[in-house]
């Protein structure tokens, strides 16, 4: 039996406890981390099934969903709304930030606990409640909300504006409010943990970039989710207390005249929402960016290229991330002058992102890395991040967005960079940290199969969406057939590509089977993994003698230090005794 690692329990626990199991104490961060992962896996499964229903319906509008019948337009929109909400909030915020953040972050900074375990547990409970609430929404009268994950008013403010906008919308509001509250609490815990509980020697410039990613994401979540909460509160008042913060003085919806006392504006919601929404998408990707840097360096067996610059760049992305929200509003009624200003800030944010890419390229350049599954997924992350990121600057030019806004080009942009790169980040984390999480190493053959199939599936699904978008195909369309006139011709012209996309999406979903198989096989395997199978250098891999679980951890050096030939690794916990090559 190999020694348990310091991920395990604090000193008070039985020293022989293996790192693998979730900790018995409910408020322990490892228990919570696993619980978050389970939660997001549930959400992911639901979101995945919904996306397949959406794809099948788009390609074959007459297709009948088994046990249900034909998919009605409002059901399609409900599916899109649920899919986006589940994926963005409950998968890509929860899993990288709160799931792996709880499992790995404390160990990576040399701490055996988080700052406020009970608040941490409370945040998880609220998140779970939020998910349950959201999953209940299809079953309320009228069905789930249909106004998309962005819930623009007046649609979201007026129950008469569509099916699902009554009770379904209230349930959505409640769910997201709970989620926002939970995220604020979890962010406070994570920030304080990083600020206060780094072990000795873990100074700021020795923190792995993963920690910087988590730190920046947590830093962004506080203001972002706080503003979202305020916006949700105002929207709630508009819905139930006859205010009109987001409504003009008079509206006629469905033949009914609605007067409000307030001269509000829907644009106010757009501003508040995107002030949250844009940081939110960076929250989703920053942990993945950090992890990719670290894993590339690990397998390249050298330092992260321009490590300190990457710290600055991560923070810069976070900072600029709160200044670019208007790029979602170029043609939404924003003043054209403001459009120009937001175009500039958005173009600016492409530069730190490019700096990250350059550092990745330089880190692996001529390093002959071991192409393990984890490394492959890191490379896949790079590929998808570039592919999805490069369309960002196109969308950031207002005049081009005037053509591309709300087309499938945007859908392609964010599925490549967020959905696919983000999910690759999750796979990367799973393959890389599996020895720590389950004391087993995932099967490499299945891992590689999974990687190549998923990569091909990802590109096959989302590259053609650029083309349908360029052809003018809008988002949120329940079908593209059966419409009269030139509009019908234009929409129907995309149908061949639609079918290809749907086939590819099915392939992409099926490509996850090797992964599931791998999980099942590996978890049953009797062979524990080696204690540090990747020769990793960061603190979560530090071995810990069983009898000295209370010995303080000390960090002696920066992350990813290897000898020049890559033969020796110098983990952060190893004292500076033997002579080493200069860096």
């Amino acid at each position: 039996m190999n020694p348990p690692r310091n991920l395990a329990a604090p000193g008070s626990d039985s020293p022989t406890q293996r790192s693998a199991a979730p900790h018995p104490r409910l408020t322990h961060h490892r228990t919570i981390g696993f619980a978050y992962l389970a939660l997001s896996a549930t959400a992911l499964l639901a979101g995945l099934l919904l996306s397949l229903v959406m794809r099948l319906h788009l390609a074959w509008p007459d297709w009948r969903l088994p046990l249900h019948g034909p998919v009605l337009p409002e059901e399609y929109l409900g599916a899109v709304t649920l899919h986006g909400t589940l994926m963005l909030f409950f998968v890509l915020t929860v899993a990288p930030l709160w799931g792996f953040g709880n499992l790995i972050l404390p160990a990576q900074i040399g701490s055996r606990r988080t700052a406020f375990p009970r608040f941490n547990a409370a945040a998880f409970a609220l998140t779970a409640l939020a998910l349950l609430t959201l999953l209940a929404s299809p079953f309320v009268p009228g069905g789930t909300a249909i106004s998309g994950w962005t819930s623009y008013p007046p649609m979201s403010a007026i129950a008469a504006s569509g099916p699902g906008q009554a009770l379904g919308m209230d349930v959505w509001l409640l769910s997201i409010a709970l989620f926002a509250l939970a995220s604020c609490i979890a962010a406070v815990n994570m920030l304080t943990t990083i600020l206060c509980l780094r072990c000795d020697g873990m100074v700021w410039h020795r923190l792995p970039l993963t920690v910087w990613g988590w730190f920046t994401a947590a830093l962004l979540s506080l203001p972002a989710f706080a503003v979202l909460l305020a916006a949700l509160l105002l929207l709630f008042c508009d819905r139930h207390l006859q205010t009109g913060f987001f409504l003009p003085a008079t509206l006629v919806v469905n033949g009914v005249l609605i007067r409000t006392t307030t001269d509000g504006s829907p644009l106010l919601w757009l501003h508040l929402f995107w002030f949250f929404g844009h940081p939110e998408v960076y929250i989703a990707i920053l942990p993945g960016i950090g992890l990719t840097s670290m894993v590339l360096a690990n397998f390249a067996r050298r330092r992260v290229f321009a490590y300190r610059l990457m710290i600055a760049v991560t923070l810069l992305i976070g900072l600029l991330g709160i200044l670019v929200w208007g790029h979602h509003m170029f043609v939404a009624g924003l003043s054209p002058f403001a459009g120009s200003a937001f175009a500039i800030s958005t173009m600016a944010i492409a530069l730190p992102a490019s700096a990250e890419v350059l550092s990745w390229l330089a880190t692996i350049w001529g390093s002959r890395p071991r192409l393990t599954s984890a490394m492959l997924f890191a490379l896949g992350f790079v590929s998808l991040f570039v592919a999805g990121g490069l369309t960002g600057p196109i969308l950031a030019q207002p005049i081009l967005d005037q053509y591309l806004h709300n087309t499938f080009f945007v859908v392609a942009h964010f599925h490549l960079i967020m959905a696919m790169a983000g999910v690759f980040g999750l796979f990367l984390a799973t393959y890389y940290w599996f020895p720590l999480l389950a004391d087993r190493t995932l099967n490499e053959t299945l891992g590689r199969t999974h990687f190549f199939a998923t990569l091909v599936g990802a590109y096959a699904t989302f590259l053609p969406m650029h083309l349908t978008g360029l052809a003018g195909e809008p988002r949120h369309y329940a079908q593209f057939t059966g419409i009269a006139g030139p509009a019908g011709t234009l929409l129907a012209s995309t149908m061949p590509l639609q079918r290809i996309i749907t086939f590819a999406a099915i392939f992409l979903a099926a490509a996850q089977l090797p992964f599931l198989l791998n999980l099942c096989i590996t978890l049953r395997s009797p062979f524990p993994s080696a204690s540090n199978p990747w020769d990793a250098t960061t603190m979560e891999w530090a071995p810990e003698a069983p009898s000295t679980a209370s010995v303080p951890l000390i960090v002696h050096r920066g992350p990813s230090e290897y000898s020049l030939d890559g033969q020796n690794c110098y983990p952060q916990w190893q004292p500076l005794t033997q002579p080493e090559q200069p860096e």
Binding site: S111, F116, C196, R198, L222, L272
Partner: protein, 265 residues
């Protein structure tokens, strides 16, 4: 204990094989000879070479936990501040809005809500409650009393703090009742939440602030309970300290909101 914030000194160099390396110390404040005294020892004076800042993280005395809760509180409050900033920006946006009628007249629905005079009184009460809270907080950190209490010579400090905290609690309740009266007065003038944009915001802001204060009252009650029941003096200090800082923050926030409602409508 002074209230200045001293981050644990993290010098990358001082770990390398220091003579008398204390890194074998148990992690959680327990020193072998009982608990750490509630005051900090950060000088390594008296020639004992025992500067607590040289100890490993997690074993640097009670201040460490205190700082941690303060940082947690500060970041939570930063988030909270953003919440109010969002509300306030909505306030200014809405205030500036208007619309044209069918006849081309510019209509501006905003009718400033006249602030009931009692709010001035409430503000004074809240300010005063911050003073009593601060007295309670300081008394928890007066070195000699704290040492007495830590040694076990009764609970003079906690008892004194409990007294001042109770006073704060009372004043807090008075403030909330005062707010309630203000809402009643407005209602008597037929100014309700639904009346006009300005009154929406008046109620929205005062009610969300009152909710925060209600949370503060709960924290005060929790702190009072902790003063009675918690056996670790450092924990009692932390309860009082964070509660009082929260209370101060809500007081400051109120001043800010009050100025906004009074002068910027």
């Amino acid at each position: 204990m002074p209230t200045v914030f001293t981050p644990p000194q993290l010098d990358p160099r001082h770990h390398t094989e220091r003579p008398g390396d204390r890194s074998g110390d148990p992690g959680e404040g327990d020193h072998g000879s009982g608990r750490r005294p509630p005051t900090d020892k950060r000088t390594g004076g008296s020639g004992d070479g025992d500067n607590w800042n040289d100890r490993p993280v997690g074993a640097r005395g009670p201040r460490e936990r205190l700082v941690q809760s303060r940082i947690g509180l500060a970041s939570a409050l930063a988030g909270d501040l953003m919440f109010f900033i969002a509300l306030i920006s909505a306030f200014f946006v809405t205030k500036a809005n208007g619309h044209f009628t069918a006849h081309g007249d510019w209509v501006h629905e905003w009718m400033p809500t006249s602030i009931p005079r009692i709010l001035l009184l409430n503000t004074a009460v809240l300010l005063f409650s911050s003073v009593t809270a601060e007295i309670a907080r300081r008394s928890m950190f007066r070195v000699h009393d704290a040492m007495d209490e830590w040694i076990g010579l009764g609970k003079p400090t906690s008892r004194r703090a409990a007294l001042w905290l109770s006073l704060t609690l009372t004043l807090g309740i008075v403030f909330l009742v005062g707010q309630w009266i203000a809402w009643q007065q407005l209602a008597a003038q037929h100014v309700f939440f639904r009346s006009n944009p300005s009154s929406h915001f008046f109620y929205l802001i005062t009610v969300t602030h009152a909710l925060h204060l209600f949370l503060g009252l709960t924290a005060l009650i929790a702190a009072l309970t902790a003063l009675r029941t918690s056996r670790v003096f450092a924990s009692r200090q932390i309860w009082v300290d964070t509660t009082v800082w929260y209370w101060h923050a809500m007081g400051a926030l109120w001043i800010f909101l009050f100025v906004l409602l009074e002068f910027f409508q």
